[in-house]
Amino acid sequence: MTGFLLRRLGQFLPVLALAAIAVWAVVYALPGDPTTVLGGLDATPEQIAAIRERLGLDQPVHLQFLTWLTHTLQGDLGTSSTSGFPVTQILAGAIPATAQLAVLAMLITVAVAIPLGMIAALAPRAAGGRIVKGWLSLSLATPPFWMGLLLVIAFSVGLRALPAASRFVPVWEDPAGALRNMILPALALGVYSGGVLARFVAASLSEVMESDYIRTARSKGASPTRVVVRHAMRNSLLPALTVGGLQLGSLLGGAVVIEVLFSYSGIGRLLFNAVAERDYAILQATIMFVVVVFLVINLVIDVLYAVLDPRIRLK
């Protein structure tokens, strides 16, 4: 296990290096530059040159990249061209906000996906199974932003019960306040993700329930609950784990549309604003953060595979 982890961590380095170059190239390929945002339409050529000099944009691109790389390796992610604040400080505010939202959304996802997926797989022809399948189709056809709008109209504008503009309230400081601010964006994300995950749980569980070893377990007199919980679920969760991991990665990488809709100050909204304002330092840092999140989650999924299925050996 230790060797596996070390090898995988070693593989991170070339991936990160390639990602850094790709991120740099993509960011610089964006048309427009920060001087138009900072100087406005009426900035004179002298003022534009001064802004470029201040941001280091007057240097050759390869030098800018090397400077950025050197500083990044030293833990200095630069300064936001828009706000003037250090990028590390801005990220330090956004990451907990997004992580907290992602965790709640993931809890809702799992709370929706496991029971609904089981009902759809175990009682596909019963009324409950049909209703669940209908619900899953509906939830998959409802994009999160649309669900978010409906929730805002109902609970914020209509009932005035929950905020339409969600603040980040740390759950360890004020759990009720945190839940109050996050419940609508988390529901908007979780209902859709839950639908996706439930489909995988249902398909996987249906397939496993047809397996020989399940028939054997039944013939040995195991109760239906024991057959499902002890024997079937463990194997059927493997594909769902991959999908769930990727969903968690997407949520941690910033649910851009939902964070923008709810004006929630996480990674997604930070990224959205950085693109609009051509804030290169923020863009590079947030995209690299997302890359790292996905790498780590993939690693964790691989380890969990081995835990759930002893036949899988980590090599």
Binding site: R180, L261, S263, S265, R269, N273
Partner: protein, 527 residues
């Protein structure tokens, strides 16, 4: 000269609550509501200003910095609360003291002597003549002058006469209107902090409020400046700006009671807000929406073609579809309140489809062009209408979607063939329009790159700048306006409205002619 005051639409009735809850989520909502804050207070009767309270405003832009010399839209929202300028303008552009209590223009029009009132910056440092001197020096440094460079271009230097008196010398005899416009625009910043680096993350002004806390992209909280010169103001205990990346989210937050008002929201929300909020047309003359064609690119390198294309635009249709009943159509860049506004110019550039069709057929070398369509308020909608107008006279205008930063770069590099975007209006001095690079008389004009502005335009601009007496000014203004129309690289469409939506509890509001909410006089009637 007359500038219409802000207009207001009074709520007709409280809007019924929209939707019943969804059962499951309603249960969640009820539980969570119990954990939340108290509901909205009942509004008190309006009357004398009430001290106290927190005003929360939603803004659909992100603040760039606290530098008032960077007069971009983003910063404009808050600079009026944090900084005092030398003078204010009334809605009809009469000067009133702000930090300057007196100003005397020399008989030869080569200097103005300004007397400052006793006032203090937020950190307790007194406002002195040295702060004005430092500000003028910065406005003359092309690297850091930012948007002050243009408006202060006629100024040579400033000298402190004593602690609270400063003499500002000009490079040439300058008329009173131009001097007053500069004084209106000039923010007094604490001298030691008056540079872009220092003002990036902190303010250094003497306005009614000071910064309490700021989270970039999220929230800015202001509290009263204890050293503000008016002991009665401000009335509010706190002002919170919440920054939104999405107008839908901002308006929902207003409707849900999270906000007391919104700043510069899009007019498409009027219908859903009109019964519950005060909808205010702030400073109706602050901006004019214009349609530009690039005279250095075919087919617009022929002035007859430019004029023919302009005549194909039905301004009234564009205005009504974007702003409804708000605003007025204009033939050029000047609003009706401007001394350079001339309704007779509609005869030259007004909608005439037959004349446009004949002109295009006779003078346009090609009949296609590309216009960048941006997310800015009204632009995509306006260009679509203009596209249809031009198609009706045989001209194919293609629209290319792009974001604001891409468009700005294209424009600044002189590569935009057609464009629609607003310009900030000059106030008393018509020639101040040329501080906008699209109207500059120099090589910086981004519509005339490599070609230079027409000689008659440059001459008219110089005349407007040089005019000193009322007769000279009136004649020069007319000449300047005519030169703009004759050269036709742009045409006016309509006066652009800056829309504010405020809850009934927000009273005492007023706006500067530059579209800024004067927060010092604002108070809340709810307890």
């Amino acid at each position: 000269m007359h500038t219409a005051p802000p207009t207001i639409r009074v709520p007709r009735a409280r809007r019924a609550r929209h939707l019943a809850g969804i059962a499951l989520a309603a249960a969640v909502a009820v539980v969570l509501t119990a954990c939340g804050t108290a509901g909205p207070s009942e509004p008190a009767a309006t009357g004398d200003p009430v001290k106290g309270g927190t005003l929360t405003l939603g803004v659909g832009l992100q603040l760039l910095d606290f530098d008032p010399f960077n007069g971009t839209n983003q910063n404009y929202i808050v600079t009026k609360a944090l900084y005092s300028n030398l003078i204010r303008y009334t809605p009809d552009l009469k000067p009133e003291p702000d930090l300057a209590t007196e100003w005397k223009i020399a008989e030869d029009h080569r200097s103005v002597t300004v007397t400052l009132r006793e006032a203090g910056f937020a950190d307790g440092t007194p406002v002195t003549a040295g702060d004005v001197v430092a500000g003028v020096a910065r406005a003359k440094d092309p690297k850091i002058a930012l948007t002050q460079a243009g408006v202060a271009s006629f100024i040579d230097s400033a000298t402190a006469v004593d602690e609270r008196t400063v003499r500002v010398d000009f490079t040439e005899p300058t008329n009173e209107d131009r001097i007053l416009d500069w004084m209106f625009y000039f923010p007094v910043v604490e001298a030691a902090k008056n540079n872009p680096d220092a003002l990036k993350t902190q303010a250094a002004g003497s306005g009614p409020f000071m910064v309490k806390s700021y989270t970039p992209g999220t929230e800015l909280t202001l509290v009263p400046n204890p050293n503000y010169y008016d002991p009665k103001q401000p009335y509010l205990d706190e002002v919170v700006y919440r920054f939104f990346s999405d107008q839908d989210g901002m308006v929902s937050a207003l409707q849900s009671g999270d906000l007391d008002g919104t700043v510069w929201q899009e007019l498409r929300y009027d219908a859903q807000l009109k019964d519950s909020f005060q909808l205010i047309d702030a400073s109706p003359s602050a901006e004019t929406m214009l349609f530009y064609v690039n005279p250095t690119m075919a087919p617009f390198d022929d002035v007859d073609c430019r004029q023919a294309v302009i005549r194909a635009i039905d301004r009234e249709k564009v205005l009504r579809s974007i702003q409804g009943e708000s605003g007025q159509v204009v033939p050029g860049p000047f609003p009706p309140s401007s001394p350079a506004f001339d309704e007779a110019l509609f005869k030259k550039v007004g909608y005439d489809a037959d004349a446009a069709a004949k002109g295009i057929a006779a003078s346009c070398a090609t009949t296609t062009a590309v216009a960048p369509s941006t997310p800015s308020t009204g632009v995509a909608q306006g260009l679509t209408i203009i596209q249809a107008d031009l198609a009706a006279v045989g001209f194919d205008l293609k629209l290319e979607n792009m974001d604001q930063a891409t468009f700005a770069t294209l424009l600044r590099d002189g590569k935009a063939q057609v464009a629609m975007f607003p310009t900030v209006n000059p106030f008393r001095s018509v020639a101040s329009l040329a501080t906008n690079r699209g109207f500059s008389g120099g090589e910086n004009n981004y519509w005339w790159f490599g070609k230079g502005v027409p000689a008659d335009y440059r001459a008219a601009l110089d005349a407007a700048r040089d005019a000193l007496t009322p007769d000279e000014i009136s004649s020069a203004n007319a000449g300047f306006s005519a030169a703009l129309i004759d050269n036709s690289w742009m045409t006016g469409l309509y006066t652009k409205i800056g829309r504010f939506a405020l809850s009934d509890a927000v009273q005492g509001w007023s706006f500067s002619p530059a579209n800024q909410l004067e927060l010092g006089g604002v108070y809340l009637t709810r307890r």
